[in-house]
Symmetry: C2
Subunit: 296 residues, 2 copies
């Protein structure tokens, strides 16, 4: 995939802090700013380490946008305590997103209750009911929408690759996310397209177009599907161009909706995490300039 050669314009490129896992929030923001990126996507763990107000200040001082906060969700608990704890944690995440100046709170909705620990025991009776787990997600999103709306924050549903359906997200396709979102205002419930999770979907083009038409396309995240798989499945992701995803085509589908937001690079990969921060940022900038930017 050679891609077109164009003048680099990194104003819509966003560094998700998960891509530079070894860096503090300050270090990640500095690396993004040095390279000329326009935004950062923040994970709550890095924000908690630096402090909420301080994190907001760090990003403002660097003149960057916060493209999204990752992540709320994990709404599938079957018991009352689990439900209460999840709602409380998501309200905190909504407040954090508003304080950081981003509208978009990415939601990883959670898997089958007993599967949250892959190393855990076999799931007990009843917990294999994925249909019921999905309904709990819909119910709890409904409980969170008014609070999110008050704070000007949008719950951004993320379809995770079906390989994570058991332990991380019972939302597996963009169509499924949009069907769930349809019961709520577009300002309060959106969707994000993460190429790693949805590249294989035969309905991807039509559902990206639908997300745009419904005003729910809240984010575009890029990273590649690589083989062979890493021993830690969650971390088996690569730089754009290192795997099997057709970035020009999917980026065109996103651009055709009129999407004018940031493009976040979120990569889970130990060998990338082991690289120096500036090297990681320069690599994603080069790949973005070649495989994504020309098609936006």
């Amino acid at each position: 995939m050679k891609g077109r050669s164009v003048t680099a314009d990194l104003s819509r490129l966003s560094l998700n802090t998960a891509t530079t896992k070894a860096l503090t929030l300050q270090e990640a923001v500095d690396a993004a700013a040095r390279a000329g990126l326009g935004a950062v996507g923040l994970w709550r763990d890095r924000v908690a380490e630096a402090g909420l107000e301080r994190s907001a200040q760090i990003v403002r001082d660097a003149g960057l946008r916060v493209s999204s906060l990752c992540r709320g969700g994990f709404l599938t608990a079957a018991d009352d305590d689990g439900r209460r704890a999840a709602l409380e944690d998501n309200r905190a995440a909504i407040v954090e997103a508003a304080t950081l100046g981003t509208r978009e709170l990415v939601m990883v909705v959670g898997g089958l209750p007993a599967a949250s620990e892959p190393e855990g025991p076999a799931v007990p009776d009843g917990d294999r009911d994925i249909v019921a787990a999905r309904q709990r997600v819909a119910d709890r999103v409904g409980e969170l929408v008014p609070f999110a709306a008050e704070h000007g924050v949008r719950l951004v549903l993320e379809a995770l690759h079906p390989i994570f359906a058991a332990d991380r997200a019972v939302l597996s396709t963009l169509e499924q996310c949009l069907d769930l979102a349809a019961d709520f205002p577009a300002e309060s419930v959106g969707v994000v397209v993460d190429t790693y999770h949805v590249w294989w979907d035969p309905k991807l083009q039509s559902q990206i177009a639908r997300a745009g038409a419904e005003g729910r396309l809240a984010g575009y995240q890029v990273c590649d599907w690589i083989l062979p798989f890493a021993s830690q499945m969650l971390n088996s992701r690569g730089y754009m161009g290192d795997g099997y995803i057709d970035f020009p085509t999917i980026t065109r589908w996103v651009a055709e909706t009129g999407y004018d937001g940031d493009v976040e690079v979120e990569i889970f990969n130990q060998s990338i995490w082991d690289q120096p921060g500036d090297e990681i940022v320069s690599t994603i900038a080069e790949r973005y300039t070649r495989l994504v930017q020309p098609y936006l």
Copy 2:
């Protein structure tokens, strides 16, 4: 998952030879017959080892049915030689299925051309076009249909889990398989439901019902989704009940279509392959009797 307790009736249970990888066709057939199973699902490698006519004789002598032949497919080659070779190999598989006395030839359609070797190099320009690869599958299925019809064999499209979209099958959902099949007679192009590959699908119930209504439900294969993943992703499958799949629910959905065919157990798992054949068969018989048969 306790399941209901009923009298074991293994007449619709089929042992797929991939589940007993260490056994010859004769040994697998003997183990299935000893345990009282009604059928076997055969892989072409075991048939080739025993010889085609001899394999048919072995199954007949044991009084078993052949529920399906695995597998045809791998139709995504982008070059003429690859196309010709694939059509030739699939015509041979169609003849083998007819000779073995089964109507159902399971088709694993193939992945992105350059991804067939997971350990191979990064894919070259162009080969990331999954939309074009799917079209080649549809075109080549169309080329094979007349030959299959002449031999009374049905091309059974198998949706593989999206984790295999790059290297094994660009058909990832039952809906996608049925959309492709719609251009052809139901007697010539069907679909198989393999729980391992489709359990996560939010549209599974509706598409199983559709497959039944369209007369295309050609097979039902069961094995479980287990965590953590095996180092060899293809072999990360388990006995029914050892993982996260809701067999009673999915089996009810299949039964509601009026499906009266065999239930094949096809499990890829090194630790199971290392067990004695009779132990494997008795385990799948026990799991089937508890988790599948009561809901058929």
